[in-house]
Symmetry: C2
Subunit: 157 residues, 2 copies
């Protein structure tokens, strides 16, 4: 089980965007994080399709959050990149073989499936409990209160 590396990029970008004063182009975000510009562009497009960011085209264009940071959860970002399909896919093997489960029994989802779904639910709840604003506050806590001032300054360059 592996998460796309784009998730890390997207979350970090959202934290930066939550501190931006104007549209931030892909170029800037990629440069800031030291990552591939062209590939990051793809992920930002996914955030855009998911409605987490708005894009302004043309010169002085770029990306902006559609909502304040405290209204965007980490789960929102993860699902924008990873999609909403469950990690566990039940193939209903209980219906196979010499002693298949009856159609009546199969009206309820498979017990194994239920357990896996509950676990993923717990995972999502945990991610839903944290917002981009929480992460930004954590950065301030870890790296000092002037951190985002410097970021904004560099962004304006």
């Amino acid at each position: 089980m592996k998460l796309s590396g784009g998730v890390e990029w997207a979350v970090h970008c959202c934290v930066v965007l939550s501190q931006a004063e104007g549209p931030v182009p892909t170029q800037r975000l990629a440069e800031f994080h030291g990552i591939s510009r062209t590939y990051l562009a793809k992920h930002l497009q996914q955030l855009s399709r998911a409605g987490l960011v708005t894009s302004t085209e043309g010169r002085v264009g770029g990306y902006l959050l559609t909502r304040p940071g405290d209204e965007i959860t980490v789960l929102d970002v993860v699902q924008a990149i990873e999609g909403r399909e469950p990690a566990f896919r039940c193939t209903e093997i209980r219906q196979n073989g010499p002693l298949p489960a009856s159609p009546q029994v199969c009206q309820r989802p498979c017990g194994v499936n239920r357990v896996m779904q509950l676990a993923e639910q717990a995972w999502r709840e945990s991610l839903r409990a944290v917002t981009i604003a929480d992460l930004a506050a954590g950065v301030l806590q870890d790296a000092g209160p002037q951190t985002f001032d410097r970021v904004r300054e560099w962004l304006a360059t």
Copy 2:
């Protein structure tokens, strides 16, 4: 994010094994679930390496659980197949770019990483809370009290 399909097979096999009276060969387990024998063999070997099942070679050989079903959690099985690596891998992009996080700050793990780790922790706790015996009880509940009698009967064929 996707779980290996082998997880589903492995969990179902453990439930069957928890009801077995003697060693069950791969052939039987594959036939019972209507799945590939040769590929299932690989997953059973993983369970064996993880110490969840013991194998007896030679004729009338097969697999047995090393512990009773109530001492094997779903998490044990999932980790035996999927490994113990976290789904989220932090690449420390905060150290990149024009405003890298200082080495002092980086002594603590990245805030994004902490959130993702917590979520995976919640996921694991949820899977750890359910045992193979619980799943077996669920099958009995769903499919009727004689279900495993029929399974044992077929297994003895």
